[in-house]
């Protein structure tokens, strides 16, 4: 039942966001492509990576799509409780449903871009290795879902009490994007910093996506283990924050 409520609210959140738009749901397809194109242009023109622009475009598209979904989910979750104040002040609905639906809406958006990604992978790189796909795709998804939900719950509760969280989260996520292997591979990160780098669950998730889809170098097991711990920690902290603050947060929305 709760899952149906989450899905309904997620679909309605998307419907509300896309109302009175011309392009509608296809913004979710166009924006990551546009962003990836811009990165490709800048990096192949000025930084000159040792890969062909088309391969780099695909490489960066995987990272951008994963990061955008994460960032979109977290920032939508941040404002979700405040936006849902009328609902939460009249219906005894579990508060966690609201940020969860905001995160789900971000994943639904990403689903629009998946066919383009799949087509790009098959056309430019050939069919992915089944074993790599079966191993790394679930790991990447699990890391991303746990990190997005955990951080989303935390910032939603934080923003209910202090609106600074909602104001800061967008710029912070933009800065954090450069601390994740979105536009560069993990191999360029200095070795001493790499464990810290891979402790970011999204860093490990993006590397795992690339290993699954593009046959890239997979993240180390230590890196995945550390990222899993951090993601589970975020998930637990977010859930605990919701459980502890739920009665009180409705009074300050």
């Amino acid at each position: 039942m709760v899952s149906r409520v989450v899905l309904r609210l997620a679909l309605d959140e998307r419907a509300a966001r896309l109302r009175q738009t011309l392009v509608g749901r296809y913004w979710a397809l166009g924006l990551p492509l546009l962003e990836s194109g811009a990165f490709t242009l800048v990096f192949t023109l000025f930084v000159r990576p040792r890969v062909a622009p088309v391969s780099y475009l695909l490489f960066v598209y995987v990272g951008v799509l994963a990061w955008r979904t994460f960032a979109r989910g977290v920032s939508a979750a941040a404002g979700s409780l405040v936006r849902a104040a009328p609902l939460l002040r009249q219906v005894p609905l579990h508060a966690g449903v609201v940020p969860t639906s905001a995160v789900l809406a971000a994943f639904l958006d990403a689903g629009i871009a998946l066919p383009l990604l799949a087509a790009g992978v098959v056309v430019l790189r050939g069919w992915p290795e089944p074993a790599a796909l079966a191993l790394w795709l679930p790991i990447a998804l699990a890391l991303q879902i746990a990190a997005t939900l955990g951080l989303g719950w935390l910032v939603a509760v934080g923003n209910a009490f202090y609106r600074d969280v909602g104001l800061a989260i967008g710029p912070l996520l933009y800065i954090l994007m450069f601390a994740a292997p979105v536009v560069y591979p993990t191999s360029v990160v200095p070795l001493p910093l790499r464990p810290l780098f891979l402790a970011n669950p999204m860093a490990a998730a993006i590397e795992a996506y690339r290993a699954a889809l593009l046959g890239g170098v997979p993240p180390s097991l230590e890196g995945v283990g550390l990222a899993s711990l951090v993601a589970l920690g975020l998930l637990g902290a977010g859930w605990a924050a919701l459980r502890l603050c739920d009665p009180r947060l409705r009074e300050v929305l």
């Binding site: 039942m1 149906r4 409520v5 309904r8 609210l9 309605d12 959140e13 419907a15 509300a16 966001r17 109302r19 009175q20 936006r83 009328p86 609902l87 939460l88 002040r89 009249q90 219906v91 005894p92 609905l93 449903v97 009490f161 202090y162 009665p247 409705r250 009074e251 300050v252």
Partner: protein, 380 residues
């Protein structure tokens, strides 16, 4: 509560404190709004008005009863399903349509609603696919009420919403709630609309600054609630000089216009018009308009005010029209119940039909069972 009928809802020593958030006067030790020592019970079939000035704690109490807020002290025990708090604003994004609102409301309330039926009953079928932000305030109020009333409940909790709806929908909502009360449900109506309270409720809880100061019959509670406070100024003299009733033909809007000539001193007032059964029966329609008169130095000025009564949603039968003028706090200053209508008029082809007042008569409405359009029929 009558003996042998266990309470549907009981609150014992209910208490909570709402503190503003940090940065808005909140924080540890900061004074907050305190609701304290609230004890009452509600029997099946009870219709209870929750009265109190702004900030008295009515909405907070409703949210505690609905389980939205958790009490910091005391106990709430409910037999049967407590409905959500039914307010006056739609609960979801203003970008969604009424259809999407109703569908989502049913989902979060745990009851699949017949979206089409709810939209139709709320009279929103013409705007069902339009974003809610484009709806009028009255339509939004109906959208806030309709799905809440459609969710089956044993205890209905209403927060002001009825006052903002148009009279026809308000009458239909009150009729629905009375029917549910007859079937054994309980209704708690919070607000300051005394006409709505009189139309629906027989008992009242009176809150003042977070304390329950009276749990009594409605008339007594209203008398206490509307009693002039020591700091209030002298009561204005108000005279309702005349009340005229005009029938507007179905083709021109299906309504009855009530025109009142009122003489008052300077100040802000409200004109209340109620349509009720003869002999002091239930109010089936009420409308309110706020007006003010400036002191022009030439004695008490007079003013003519007009209220339209729509024909829709009124069942067949005789009616009387009662008119009252209250001050800005809702204290009645003058009332008149002798407004009435002549029998079937000489119908002109278009425009309003003037009807002369009679000393003691009533208006009778008849509706066609097979047609949505109302046919009006007057007898004395």
């Amino acid at each position: 509560m009558s003996p042998g009928r266990p309470a549907l809802l009981q609150a014992r020593a209910l208490a909570t404190t709402l503190r503003p958030p940090l940065g808005l006067g909140g924080g540890r030790g900061a004074p907050g709004f305190e609701l304290k020592d609230i004890s009452f019970s509600v029997a099946p079939g009870a219709t209870v008005a929750l009265l109190g000035q702004n900030g008295a704690g009515k909405t907070t109490l409703l949210r505690l009863l609905a389980g939205v807020y958790r009490p910091q002290g005391g106990v709430i025990s409910a037999r049967g399903r407590v409905g959500p708090v039914i307010g006056w604003t739609p609960l979801f994004s203003p970008e969604l349509t009424p259809r999407e609102h109703v569908r989502a409301y049913g989902m979060v309330a745990g009851v699949p609603l017949d979206v089409y039926d709810v939209i139709l009953r709320a009279g929103l079928d013409a705007v069902a696919r339009r974003p809610v932000r484009l709806l009028s305030a009255g339509e939004q109020a109906r959208l806030a009420l309709a799905p809440g009333l459609a969710v089956p409940a044993d205890i209905y909790l209403l927060d002001e919403g009825l006052s903002l709806c148009d009279p026809a929908y308000r009458a239909a909502a009150i009729a629905f709630l009375r029917r549910r009360a007859d079937e054994g449900a309980a209704v708690i109506l919070a607000g300051q609309d005394l006409l709505c309270a009189r139309a629906l409720c027989s008992r009242a809880l009176l809150l003042e600054r977070g304390r329950l100061i009276a749990d009594t019959d409605l008339d007594t509670a209203i008398a206490v609630f509307t009693a002039p406070s020591a700091e209030a100024g002298p009561t204005a003299t108000v005279v309702i000089e005349s009340v005229e009733v005009q029938r507007v033909l179905p083709g021109a809007g299906e309504r009855i216009d009530v025109r009142c000539r009122v003489r008052t001193g300077p100040g802000a007032f409200a004109l209340l018009v109620a349509l009720k059964r003869p002999g002091g029966g239930a109010v089936l329609f009420s409308s309110r308009c706020i007006f003010s008169l400036e002191d022009q130095g030439d004695g008490s000025p007079a003013r003519t005010l007009e209220v339209g009564i729509p024909a829709s949603a009124l069942p067949q039968g005789p009616y009387q029209i009662a008119v009252a003028v209250t001050d800005s706090r809702g204290v009645p200053l003058a009332t008149r119940e002798d407004a009435a209508l002549t029998p079937e008029p000489q119908t002109p082809p278009d425009g309003p039909t003037p009807l002369s007042p009679l000393p003691d008569s009533s208006i009778s409405l008849s509706t066609s069972a097979t047609s949505v359009a109302r046919s009006w029929d007057f007898d004395s």
